[in-house]
């Protein structure tokens, strides 16, 4: 595995066990992290909060933990919204990680599986969940076997508190969307579901689904042990804690790195030994945005990235080398996103392929005179009009190019594409597999 953690940036938290001991079995896990006391206390009785549940919820709230799956929604608020339904929860661990440029959840589950299970078990015991369902894509066979071996190890040690199951939905991008995942668990095709209020909790038969990203639950496991002040001792006030980032593109050492929230983007890219000074970086992945190198001093936080027209998303950073054209890369990504759409909602079904085609013309410099105006109009009309946020992310990516790289855009629009746009030099995405 390429470098997991770089000590220049942060003392590892999530990946501390494998980093210090080179192992991630139960004994090493307990030796490094300790065992959460709450898991030895009586769990909640059916659909009632455990006596210690409020303390855990308050700790998560005070820690300021936000979801690490992409939306950065406050974890405690999601928990309370689910509890307010008064239905019995099922804890769903979302490790679907459908973006090609993201590998952090599979690294986490491969090298710190006990921490993720601790977090899911803690929440399940606190709120009286019926079961824990860990969802990972059907094509991640190695991760699945690590996970099953880990569950068997806990079972042998008598440390499984709730029924924990592993489910393997199809590894399509959109199945990782919360409502699509719950649709699949319900026996449906795994497509996003329309909710008049986007945050409305999703039911699962008589139960309600509490869906959290795998990394979010690993943070919960550590907050339960060390408390909110400890959690906030890393990161910055508006964005506390550490997070995992998958760094790829024009770097010599692509990998999954644990960083402190608020680390300047330039410092994160430096961890991967960039092959040359990158001209731009894709922050937040396919639903994020491109930022120019002049903005690399900005802190990596959801709010700072939002101001730049990007997002932190599920922790993705791709450095753009000089051999690649940002417009051609974006056209390629939009083509992929258009192909991955569910095809349920008109604005996305027709809008994304049209925008992808516009961008392909822009990249080649073969667009008509109305191209830029059309692209502005189309990208401005789509956000918020789908059942899920898939089209919103896609147009954000395009808008970041139009906004942050006006001179490149106008050169291409005037029929003068850069040399890299015409050559086929796709950006290397993702991380080489571990040893």
């Amino acid at each position: 595995m390429t470098a997991l953690v770089d000590q220049r940036v942060v003392t590892p938290r999530l990946l501390a066990c494998v980093q210090r001991t080179g192992a991630f079995d139960l004994a090493s896990h307990v030796a490094v992290h300790g065992w959460p006391k709450a898991l030895d206390l009586p769990p909640s009785r059916r659909s009632r909060l455990a006596p210690w549940a409020e303390e855990l919820l308050t700790d998560i709230e005070d820690a300021g933990l936000t979801g690490r799956g992409g939306a950065a929604f406050p974890t405690a608020r999601k928990l309370r919204a689910v509890l307010s339904t008064r239905r019995r929860p099922v804890v769903v661990v979302n490790a679907m990680e459908g973006e090609p440029a993201s590998m952090k959840d599979q690294v986490l589950l491969s090298f710190a599986p006990h921490l993720v299970i601790d977090g899911a078990e803690l929440l399940a015991a606190a709120i009286g969940a019926k079961e824990v369902l860990i969802c990972l894509p059907d094509d991640r066979i190695e991760v699945g076997s690590v996970l099953r071996a880990t569950l068997a190890e806990r079972d042998r040690a008598g440390l499984l508190r709730s029924p924990v199951h592993v489910a393997t939905p199809p590894g399509r991008y959109l199945v990782g969307e919360e409502s699509a995942l719950v649709d699949w668990i319900r026996g449906g095709p795994g497509l996003p579901v329309f909710r008049p209020s986007k945050g409305a909790p999703l039911t699962l038969g008589p139960c309600v689904a509490l869906v959290h990203n795998a990394e979010t639950l690993a943070h919960v496991a550590l907050i339960a042990r060390h408390g909110p002040e400890w959690f906030r001792s890393a990161g910055v006030p508006g964005a506390p804690g550490t997070c995992l980032v998958t760094l790829s593109g024009a770097v010599a050492r692509p990998g999954v790195y644990e960083i402190e929230m608020g680390t300047p983007v330039a410092d994160i890219i430096d961890l991967g030994d960039p092959t040359a000074t990158p001209a731009a970086a894709l922050v937040g992945g396919y639903g994020g945005g491109w930022i120019p190198s002049s903005a690399f001093k900005a802190p990596y936080t959801p709010s700072a990235m939002r101001e730049l027209g990007a997002a932190t998303g599920p922790g993705i950073l791709v450095a753009l080398g000089s051999a690649s054209c940002l417009i051609a890369e974006t056209a390629r990504i939009l083509g992929w996103l258009a192909a991955e759409r569910a095809g349920q909602c008109g604005p996305c079904t027709y809008g994304l392929p049209a925008i992808a085609e516009d961008l392909a013309q822009l990249a080649r410099g073969t667009g008509d005179r109305g191209l830029l105006r059309r692209l502005e109009r189309r990208t401005g009309q789509i956000a918020g009009r789908g059942a899920c946020r898939h089209p919103d992310g896609a147009v954000r990516l395009v808008q970041s190019v139009l906004r942050n790289f006006p001179s490149e855009v106008s050169e291409h629009a005037q029929g003068r594409p850069c040399a890299s746009a015409l050559g086929e030099t796709p950006l290397p995405l993702g991380v080489p597999h571990w040893p």
């Binding site: 992409g70 009009r385 992310g393």
Partner: protein, 88 residues
């Protein structure tokens, strides 16, 4: 809004289920000030709040939609929603 409150009618806003919608466009015909259509014929809500004078037409739009994709919701919706999306 104040006038509506005095009458005891909670303000209504338009909600469109984008999965159900097939772009028949009746809603935009009936409520041109509130709904326009994009180049593929799907509705864009320009203003979701329904003024009292358009309430009857809005109810007609709800009734006439062949896909039953449009509805009216009272405005006191809890806004404590998360975006509910793992990756964007």
């Amino acid at each position: 809004m104040n006038a509506l409150r005095r009458l005891g009618t909670p303000a209504q806003r338009i909600v469109i289920d984008p999965i159900a919608c097939d772009g028949f466009g009746y809603c935009a015909e009936l409520l041109p000030g509130l709904i326009t259509l994009d180049e593929w014929g799907y509705p864009i809500i320009e203003s979701s709040l329904v003024p009292a004078r358009l309430l009857a037409l809005a109810r007609l739009a709800v009734k006439e939609c062949p896909r039953r994709a449009i509805g009216l919701a009272t405005c006191e919706q809890p806004s404590d929603g998360y975006s509910g999306q793992q990756q964007p």
